[in-house]
């Protein structure tokens, strides 16, 4: 403990708000410091002098008057005070019950309807709007059959169209191939004809040359003879 801490405890000590251990510690410390002891004595003296200040009591008793209420409302007040409880909890409960009762009355008188579905929360008053009913099992089966039929027809049509298309493509391909073969044959024939013509020409020329050579040979032999 230091002097500042001791001074902090002066007020608690003077007014008896210090526990026994702290009090012993403070008194022990003060005994070792004359200046603190002197200061505590001065504070205690100031405190004791203040006790001589007399007390002055009020001259008259205050009375808070109850607010004046018109006589015509007295029976209402009596009725309400007899119906409404006084404690906060009971008043709150009474208020909640009254609110629920009022809500039920209003709901009944206005045909209130509340519902919760996939589209959200519905709150309606009065006559109910027509509500769309769900399909019966027979209707569902009918719809399924119809859908199946439509699907089968559609698949059949698609397959037929595909076959026709495929046949057309095949015909076109075969036709093209035949045209190609024909063209190739004609070309080959032309080549062969040209070859034969060329061969005939060559053979003819050989014959001519042979004849010419033979003529020369014969002429030569004749001269020698």
């Amino acid at each position: 403990m230091n002097k500042e801490e001791a001074r902090l405890l002066f007020m608690d000590y003077m007014y008896g708000e210090l526990d026994q251990d702290q009090e012993q510690e403070l008194l022990s410390y003060i005994r070792q410091h004359d200046d603190l002891r002197q200061e505590l004595e001065e504070l205690t003296e100031a405190k004791s002098l203040l006790q001589h200040l007399p007390v002055e009591s009020p001259k008259e008793q205050l009375v808070i008057m109850e607010p004046e209420i018109k006589a015509t409302t007295h029976w209402w007040k009596g009725l309400f005070s007899s119906l409404i409880p006084t404690s906060t909890f009971a008043r709150t409960s009474f208020g909640l019950v009254a609110s629920v009762f009022l809500f039920v009355i209003l709901a009944a008188s206005t045909d209130l309807n509340m519902s919760l579905n996939d589209n959200g929360f519905n709150l309606t008053f009065g006559e109910q709007p027509p509500v769309q009913q769900g399909f019966t099992p027979e209707q569902v089966q009918l719809i399924v059959d119809q859908v199946q039929r439509q699907n089968a027809q559609m698949v059949n049509r698609i397959v037929t169209d595909a076959q026709v298309q495929q046949n057309l493509l095949l015909d076109e391909t075969l036709s093209s191939f035949a045209s190609y073969l024909e063209d190739q044959r004609n070309y080959d024939l032309q080549q062969i004809a040209q070859g034969i013509t060329s061969l005939e020409q060559t053979t003819f020329n050989r014959f001519l040359q042979t004849d010419q050579v033979l003529g020369e040979i014969i002429q030569t032999v004749s001269y020698e003879n």
Binding site: L8, L43, E45, A46, L53, L62, S81, T86
Partner: protein, 189 residues
């Protein structure tokens, strides 16, 4: 019946319960205000205003068990408001007090007169304290509140309250010495 029960009765519509609370607390609030202003008229006015305000605002009291602290807080605020409102007038009055009076020497002739004069000087010494120190001295010395209660009413830290009381008592001791007020003045018969 406890204060809290009377508070709840009043909130439940029983106006007489509030008059019982007034009967219980009027003297203490009056003493508090009287020591703060050293004036019977001011004390009566503050007391009346305190209970009128309490009557109007009692439904805002969170904890009925703390009615006493709450009432002192109202009185405290009204005292401060009164000081602000009439600060100029009171300032002049306190200025006049600074001309140091002296307790008459006790000569045995008229001890009652001497004692009365010393009481007047005690009150003047209290009035010379700064407002916040005077408030704590009155609450602790005369109203007998604990330090935590005072701290709650003034909404100040505990050590601040103790510090104000410490410096308040030191200032009072200094004033008493300079005005020659001591225990012999009061012990003389």
């Amino acid at each position: 019946m406890e204060d809290a029960q009377l508070v709840n009765d009043f909130l439940g519509g029983n106006h007489q319960a509030f008059n019982k609370l007034v009967g219980r607390w009027q003297d203490r609030i009056h003493h508090f205000a009287y020591r703060y202003f050293a004036s019977s008229d001011d004390a009566a006015e503050i007391t009346q205003k305190t209970f009128i305000k309490a009557y109007q605002k009692l439904d805002s009291l969170d904890d009925a068990q703390k009615f006493g602290s709450w009432l002192y807080r109202i009185a405290n605020n009204l005292c401060l408001d009164e000081l602000k409102r009439a600060g100029r007038k009171r300032g002049t009055s306190l200025e006049a007090l600074k001309t140091a009076p002296q307790a008459p020497a006790v000569s045995g002739a008229d001890s009652k007169l001497v004692r009365n004069e010393a009481i007047v000087l005690l009150h003047r010494a209290l009035l010379q304290l700064p407002n916040e120190q005077r408030m704590v001295v009155i609450m602790k010395e005369y109203e007998g509140m604990t330090f935590p209660e005072i701290a709650e009413i003034l909404d100040e830290p505990l050590n601040t309250v103790k510090s104000r009381l410490y410096y308040g008592l030191k200032a009072l001791k200094k004033t008493f010495d300079s005005w020659n007020i001591n225990k012999e003045v009061f012990n003389y018969e």
